[in-house]
């Protein structure tokens, strides 16, 4: 290819990184709400829990499409290698998302089968989350590559480590979901969300600890990056901040603050996300291809950038507006205020 006049890779890395992070936060909390839905105690609480995400879930899930297509657009080689490598987790995720997505509508319309779609909603949310965690674990462990293709088997992605990350993500999304419910509900239901939130928080802490111990043991490149001098000094704020934030999150789950548990959970996700990013930089197909090697042609990246720089702020504006319309506590008797 011709020599690029401008290097678009950093800006696309930022856009894709933000897009994936938005997806993890937004669909993260509504998948988490779906997981917690399985623990609701009566019909009224089920309705309130479902109502708290009904108007926004498909906007949240749209970020998944943007993440997938964003990878296809900006780093197509990574897309072509990683997607077949995680064939079954993606397959499980897509089917689970289908079941849980239609459950929103079917549950209310299909009175005789309400129980079935209730289970579909909860288990679908959990399976989708677990599958995404498997993808994350497989990504950290890297893929077998030959030429421009994935060369391993379709079951390679299932390892003890990836199952650990799958379970970790269940706790993580459930914590986000509990934070969202504390924000959106009141009274008995809010107390219930706090209680579950504390359990999820315990799971998250354990998961962060285990993954942090195992990652450098499994990937020597990462161990070297973490522990060599002076990196260990520069990187130390991340574990320290995580610890401080964890203390704050625990306190806010135990006092009366309404927004803090959700904010704290977002903060913990951000720190973990940064940690993974720093560990793998600049790889997009870990240990095989860098962001620059996997990038689309500059012409492609430039053409899409023109539109994206204009459209993404517009999207954020009207998505923000739709959240604003449904602000405040969710109420059972009249739907919304």
């Amino acid at each position: 290819m011709s020599v690029p006049m401008l290097d678009f890779v950093p800006i696309w890395t930022v856009i894709l990184g933000l897009g994936v992070f938005f997806y993890v936060l937004l669909d993260g909390f509504d998948l988490g709400v779906g997981i917690l839905y399985g623990f609701t105690f009566d019909r009224t609480s089920r309705n309130l829990v479902m109502n708290s995400i009904a108007p926004i879930w498909d906007g949240n899930e749209t970020w998944l499409v943007l993440g997938g297509i964003g990878l296809f657009s900006a780093f197509p080689l990574a897309f072509a290698i990683i997607m077949p490598a995680v064939y079954f987790p993606l397959f499980g995720m897509l089917l689970a998302l289908a079941f849980r997505g239609v459950a929103f509508e079917f549950r209310y319309r299909d009175a005789p089968h309400r129980t079935f779609w209730d289970y579909a909603f909860c288990l679908g949310s959990a399976l989708a989350t677990f599958s995404q965690g498997i993808v994350l674990g497989a990504f950290i462990q890297g893929f077998e590559v030959s030429g421009r293709n994935f060369a391993g088997g379709s079951l390679d992605c299932f390892t003890p480590f990836s199952i650990l990350t799958g379970v970790s993500l269940l706790f993580g999304y459930a914590l986000l979901g509990a934070g969202w419910l504390v924000l959106k509900t009141e009274g008995e239901l809010q107390d219930w969300a706090r209680r579950l939130g504390r359990w999820c928080f315990g799971g998250v802490l354990l998961a962060i600890a285990l993954v942090s111990i195992l990652t450098p043991l499994l990937a020597l490149d990462i161990a070297f990056r973490w522990f060599s001098w002076p990196n260990i000094l520069y990187l130390s704020p991340i574990p320290i901040l995580t610890l401080l934030l964890a203390i704050w999150e625990w306190r806010s789950l135990n006092n009366r603050s309404e927004a803090a548990p959700f904010a704290g959970a977002i903060g913990l996700f951000l720190l973990c996300y940064l940690g993974i990013g720093i560990s793998l930089w600049p790889m997009i197909v870990p240990y095989k291809f860098t962001l620059w090697e996997a990038a689309a042609s500059p012409n492609t990246q430039a053409f899409l950038l023109i539109g994206a720089l204009f459209l993404i702020p517009v999207i954020l504006m009207y998505t923000g507006w739709s959240y604003w319309v449904f602000r405040g506590k969710v109420r059972g008797d009249i739907g919304y205020h």
């Binding site: 309705n47 109502n51 657009s73 197509p76 897509l94 289908a98 009175a111 539109g307 507006w321």
Partner: protein, 466 residues
């Protein structure tokens, strides 16, 4: 027998896309219809438009939800099953798909929440804007995805380096030679499909003497629209066919069941094409008409399949029959529209039982025609994913085994066979229960979505009331 991942991946793609296309075929037209109803309700203040809009929004909610979840599956298919195609074409095609996401999906998703749940939370004009945005989003989506598909059929504006496609001219890529024909033919097909569902529902009410005002409005308004769109669609189909004749002559040869190149080709009405003997059996033909339609000259030259080596020919029987089903349905639709002029002129549009019965039974016609047309164009362009340049066989992910794909195919098979019938049954139930009984004043809560989860639940279960 060894399981073939290529064949199974093709089957899987055909399965997930065939179910998925039924939903945009309905929601694109329905979103526009709802936007028109909302606009009429806003400007005239007539209650019937308000009730109709509320009624169709409930049905839209179900079909749109199914469209979203079956649609998310599609881009991932590219990566999981067709990774070599993705690697080769990403530089050209990925921005088109990304622009679909950026211009359409977010617009639809954000404003859908307001359209469904927000009637009493936002002023009426903002609710109308939400309806327009959702309708616009569905059309933007059609624009980009059909541009992508068209580029695969008639690639343009690219260069090939080391077996991969690179962009040279974005306008030529987006507005590739078959795009505008395909866009017009497909969008009108979707509007017509929705139109026949709406007149079917209207006729169903009129035959049972229920919701008469709503039924009349649906029937009359939509038949005027179909009066324009059905003849227009036949014209657009002819134009699209001529475009394919120019750029994909092998596809047309298969559609026509034409094996030998001849001038003054007949039009084959019916035959059993036989690929082994390279000939048609039981052929019923009209002399000269084939050349006349395709070249607008009775002695025009029409190329036959034998001009291509056997491994560059599409399968013949599938596009041949699928095309005839599509055209047959088009003619049936035209007959119904012509009949509607006659019953309308004799003032029996709302009372002629045989006509209303015909409307009722024509409800699924559009869907069948859409699937048949899609099959014609997609099977007809085989054995290529990028026409003439990249083979389907070279597009599949190399790491997949037959067993991998068999498992996922069975999974998609089961899940879609649960979700789609339940969804259709729920929509049918909404039709049976009908638009809400008219109230003195639109109750904002009930108006927004009578299915507002909690209120609907409480209405259904008296014991849940305080």
């Amino acid at each position: 027998m060894e399981l073939d991942p290529l064949f199974l991946s093709r089957l899987q793609f055909a399965w997930v896309v065939a179910w998925h296309i039924l939903l945009p075929a309905f929601t694109i037209g329905l979103a526009s219809y709802i936007a028109v109803l909302e606009a009429l309700s806003f400007t005239t203040g007539r209650q019937v438009y308000f009730r109709l809009s509320t009624f169709w929004i409930r049905i839209f909610a179900i079909s749109f939800g199914m469209g979203v979840v079956s649609g998310i599956v599609m881009p991932f298919q590219f990566g999981t099953n067709w990774s070599r195609f993705s690697d080769a074409t990403a530089n050209v095609l990925s921005p088109l798909l990304a622009y679909e996401g950026l211009t359409a999906f977010f617009l639809e998703a954000a404003f859908l929440g307001v359209l469904l749940f927000g009637r009493r939370l936002v002023p009426p004009w903002a609710h109308l804007v939400a309806a327009l945005m959702v309708a616009g989003g569905t059309l933007f989506s059609a624009f980009w995805i059909l541009s992508t598909n068209s580029w695969m059929q008639t690639p343009a504006g690219y260069e090939i380096i080391d077996g991969r496609f690179f962009p040279q001219d974005w306008l030529k890529i987006i507005f590739n030679p078959s795009f505008l024909y395909r866009l017009a033919h497909t969008v009108v097909a979707f509007y017509v499909t929705t139109g026949f569902v709406v007149i079917g529902v209207g006729a169903w009410y009129l035959l049972r003497d229920r919701f008469v005002e709503e039924g009349r409005s649906m029937l009359s308004m939509t038949l005027w629209l179909l009066t324009i769109l059905v003849p227009l669609q036949i014209f657009l189909g002819d134009q699209h066919g001529l475009n394919s004749f120019q750029y994909q002559p092998a596809k047309i040869a298969a559609v026509e069941g034409r094996w030998d190149t001849v001038s003054a080709a007949p039009l084959t009405l019916f035959a059993i094409p036989d690929a082994k003997t390279e000939s048609n059996r039981y052929a019923v033909e009209i002399p000269y008409l084939g050349s006349l339609i395709l070249t607008h000259d009775v002695h025009g030259n029409v190329r036959g399949l034998k001009e291509w080596p056997a491994d560059e020919r599409p399968p013949v029987a599938i596009p041949f029959f699928a095309f005839r089903i599509m055209v047959g349905i088009g003619l049936l639709m035209l007959a119904l529209v012509v009949a509607s002029w006659w019953v309308r002129a004799s003032r029996r549009l709302y009372s002629s039982r045989w006509f209303l019965r015909c409307c009722e039974f024509s409800m699924p016609l559009g869907f069948i025609a859409v699937i048949a047309g899609w099959t014609t164009t997609e099977v007809g362009r085989q054995p290529w994913t990028v026409y003439g340049l990249m083979r389907t066989a070279d597009s599949v992910s190399p790491s997949l085994t037959g067993n991998d794909v068999l498992i996922s195919l069975v999974g998609y098979g089961i899940v879609y066979l649960v979700i789609f019938p339940v969804g259709v049954a729920l929509m049918a139930r909404l039709v049976r229960s009908g638009p809400l009984a008219p109230g003195p004043e639109p109750d904002p809560v009930e108006g927004g979505r009578p299915g507002l989860p909690v209120s609907a639940l409480r209405a259904a279960e008296p014991e849940a009331l305080p």
